[in-house]
Symmetry: C2
Subunit: 223 residues, 2 copies
Amino acid sequence: MPPDLNLRISPRTVQQETVDKLRLAILSGLFQPGSRLIESQLCAQLGISRPSLREALRSLEAERLIEIVPNRGPSIPALSWEVATAIYEVRELLEVEAAGRCASRISPAQLDELKRSLSAFEEAALSKDSIAQVMTAADFYSIILANCGNPILEEVHRGLVARISFFRGRSMSLEGRAQSSLAEMREIFESIAAGDENAARKASKQHVLKAKAAAKISMDSDI
Amino acid sequence: MPPDLNLRISPRTVQQETVDKLRLAILSGLFQPGSRLIESQLCAQLGISRPSLREALRSLEAERLIEIVPNRGPSIPALSWEVATAIYEVRELLEVEAAGRCASRISPAQLDELKRSLSAFEEAALSKDSIAQVMTAADFYSIILANCGNPILEEVHRGLVARISFFRGRSMSLEGRAQSSLAEMREIFESIAAGDENAARKASKQHVLKAKAAAKISMDSDI
DNA sequence: TCAACCAGATTGTCTGACATTCTTTCAATC
DNA sequence: GATTGAAAGAATGTCAGACAATCTGGTTGA
């Protein structure tokens, strides 16, 4: 029996592929905020039919990664600073809780995993590759969220972070932000490693607040 | 020019109507958990075409109100108690925060609105109409969430509460649950009316915890 | 009894079509 | 010259029909 059987339990459909491709394209900033997406163009570029594309667009709409106005079609929403602030606030709520829970329940194996992801971010921080920085940082959080013992917390957090990826890329390229981010993340890690729930919460809160401040600076500084 | 010119009327499309109808059907428990939805049947019942229906289903899938497994189609997810617990925990996080913020920022007009919705729940609690109870209680929360000053908090909360509507209907029909629920909600209201942020948080937390306990009882008692 | 297999049911996807609704262009009017 | 209005073009909303791939349940054969 072919060994790739376990990889094919759930067949990937055109719709799933399309959602993933478009999500990646949006998160990496390929489309300008406010720009409209033309169905026929996307169909041609992706090599799929309109019904399949429209299903994918509905999924992305529900994730709030695109907006669909009747008779005007899909577009990339321009994230206002008000909404971004609201997202950062909820993110703080969730992330602080997750870090606290994680501190008292993470397994040694996962802790090791977390340490490795911190190292990966450290390496990225030394380089000037802001894309790598954002990705490794996202890995770090996702390990924490995955080990907080609450899958819903993880799910909601992922959805929110996706919507502010736009800001995260920009703020990471601020002078010195990667370094101070590294320091904050190290503090979170140390607290979790020590099993100190309160310290983990405090460090996590600090981190989100500073990330928000950095996002605001990067937004104000250029427009 | 008026500052906030948002007069754009958005026409209701077949897809939106369909999503609303199906969501209502799901939330009111019309479909058994675990049961499958047959596209052709739904098309006939709703009088729409398959592409339109499939778009609507993708929206509902993203809201986690249905599951779609490739080559098996859509079905109503059976909510495990583990996931329900996780949802209640996050709901607590969000609702407590919202109640706290609401206490220090709600306007007199909205406070009056809140009072009216509490009265509506009181009336529903006296009757034995558990559907009316769930609906009026939902109104009460939604006013609080709408006045917490954070639209994201509101949005996330709405999504989570929708997924546990199944439990809320059952637990409301428990002997005495509506009455104690009323007492808890009244306490939340009084705290908010007094502008006492800490009391609002405490009352809100109590309320969610008791709602969770009631849901567990109603789940264990019949299977 | 159990496995293989077959027929019906269902989904995934595509093509093509058409009415409705923007958007843009260009001319006419004031 | 600016504004209005109309017409052409583009894009979306929606449908119908088709077909292959896949699942499901029951029947057959060993």
